[in-house]
């Protein structure tokens, strides 16, 4: 990789003679990108102490938790968060004196978790999760959250218990897609209780969306803070027994992805589903995501080509608004399974807007067969694995 910056971080004119084109030998982008541990080691570990802003999460504690919480708060109140890496950008690195809705990581909660460790069972919170799968894409706006949601609904309809962990901290879409955006997160002895979508408790969710005081609050965090919350999401959410935990990610191959893969590694995730739209511009980024999976040892379960064609409801003419076939070609080129093409479907979009169960309510819709087929392949894959 020809990255001039890694020539000892100095200005390029000091490391390359006049007029020289960047040489690949000049780069020292760590092959340590292959092992996420190394990528993590490329930077000093920040000391993350958190502001004591109370958050919705601490409002609904049991009396026992409250006891632990109060003593924790007393000993740790007033500590300012420190990130060892970059100078604080005023207003965002969270000074406890300022009520700061954009730095919502609650100090009380973190410390309460520490206190609660005394009462925690030996069992990890992910011990009851049978299969973990990640939904990734190199590109934004391709429909990762949509695919995560519909996959969860399909699996639920096959009788499975599913959880969704939303690690998109800047743009958490999952709560709204299930119409539970106003719900709170409660605590229990084992940690944080995920938000259940209905009485059935067959789908449970965790997202930073539930932890914000106001839905429009921006989470303006640099990497270390995001990493800390992701670690907490992985360790402290009491999922209970689940057949599947789907991890919905933001676009890219950065902090959230490295941290999520590192944190989940001990639990041996089943693999990753990569979502793309058909165009080359989208596929171009998803190729990089495939490399990320390879380098981090994450198995690719397959590629989904989303927004693949639109059938006009008036005349049934099919138009390839975002081109066609790019996802399938990529799967062939990369030697990974192609899980299917999901067409553009206004009923699906509407369903997501209203937080409805598309799989239940629109079985005749154009996206239904593709979505259920994807879920079936995942189920078949897990059956194969266990047999």
């Amino acid at each position: 990789m020809q990255i001039l910056q890694t020539c000892s971080g100095s200005a390029p004119s000091r490391c390359l003679p006049y007029g020289t084109r960047p040489r690949s030998s000049c780069t020292s982008v760590p092959d340590g990108l292959a092992a996420p541990g190394k990528a993590g080691q490329a930077e000093p570990r920040p000391v993350v102490q958190v502001p004591t802003d109370a958050l919705k999460i601490s409002r609904h504690l049991t009396r026992r938790d409250q006891g632990a919480l109060t003593s924790a708060t007393r000993s740790h109140a007033g500590k300012a968060p420190k990130t060892a890496l970059e100078p604080p950008f005023s207003g965002f690195e969270g000074h406890p004196q300022q009520p700061n809705a954009t730095a919502p990581l609650p100090g009380t909660l973190l410390r309460a978790s520490d206190a609660l460790l005394l009462f925690l069972p030996e069992r990890s919170n992910l011990a009851g999760v049978r299969h973990i799968l990640l939904v990734l894409s190199g590109k934004g706006g391709v429909g990762k959250s949509t695919i995560s949601t519909e996959l969860a609904l399909s699996l639920r309809h096959s009788g499975k218990k599913v959880g969704i962990l939303d690690v998109d901290l800047c743009g958490p879409s999952i709560p709204r897609m299930f119409r539970v955006q106003d719900n709170d997160v409660h605590q229990c002895d084992s940690g944080w209780v995920p938000v259940f979508v209905d009485q059935d408790k067959s789908i449970s969710l965790m997202s930073i969306g539930f932890l914000l005081e106001k839905p429009d609050d921006a989470v303006v965090w640099r990497g270390p803070k995001k990493n800390a919350l992701i670690k907490q999401f992985v360790a402290d959410v009491a999922w209970g027994d689940l057949d599947f935990l789907i991890v919905d990610t933001p676009p890219g191959t950065s902090d959230e992805h490295i941290s999520t893969v590192e944190a989940l590694r001990p639990y041996k995730p089943l693999g990753a589903i990569l979502v793309t739209t058909p165009q080359a511009v989208s596929v171009g980024d998803v190729r990089r995501e495939l490399t990320f999976c390879k380098k981090t040892g994450l198995r690719v379960l397959g590629i989904v080509e989303n927004m693949s064609g639109f059938v006009c409801p008036h005349c049934s003419e099919c138009t390839n608004i975002f081109s066609k076939g790019g996802g399938e070609e990529l799967a062939k080129h990369a030697g990974v399974p192609f899980l299917g093409s999901v067409p553009l479907d206004p009923q699906l979009s509407q369903s997501l807007e209203e937080g409805r169960d598309f799989i239940q309510e629109f079985p005749k819709s154009s996206a239904f067969p593709a979505l259920t087929h994807i879920a079936q392949q995942i189920l078949d894959g897990t059956l194969q694995q266990s047999s």
């Binding site: 001039l4 970059e86 902090d255 165009q279 511009v281 995501e289």
Partner: protein, 233 residues
Amino acid sequence: QVALLDIDICGPSIPKMMGLEGEQVHQSGSGWSPVYVEENLGVMSVGFLLSSPDDAVIWRGPKKNGLIKQFLRDVDWGEIDYLIVDTPPGTSDEHLSIVQYLSAAHIDGAVIITTPQEVSLQDVRKEINFCHKVKLPIIGVVENMSGFVCPKCKNESQIFPPTTGGAEKMCQNLNVPFLGKVPLDPQIGKSCDKGQSFLSEAPESPATSSYRNIIQRIQEYCDQHHFQEEKII
């Protein structure tokens, strides 16, 4: 004279869209040379620094910030009228860094892109809040993928339905300028994939006139902004 800086380090799309895939960054005594599409349009992206289209940039925040700083400090843009910075989605390292690093240069403002659905708008409201917090003026919001007219029967479909009134209503509520809507047009994706100018390839498309109207409004804003700055000086 226009410069386009792509700070989406993990997903650099600009080289492909500009038909510059495979180009490399050259270096001279005055710094890194942008890659020129035309004499008056220069581009910089991490995409030019990667040797293979499969190369992934798996970097945490600080490394990304370092490269962004280098893009701003070491690229020899020359005299330019407009520096356009394309960002990744979110409100994180790249966004904080670019605002911080450009603070001395007085950013004219931000153009925020959304699609019509509430699922998109809810994230865009966060982005608007981010702009307010970092005191980044908002030039306006563009509603992309706003409706699709079937080429056969000419009926319009709302593929991404504006269930809460779309960007226009959001802008009214938040007192932010609404720059316009761009409809879906399959030619846009095709042109981007081929690295051709959609505006030249499809001059008659309704999307083209939408783009041109929006661009004009942005230019008017910048001219006004520049005029006001000159008055202060």
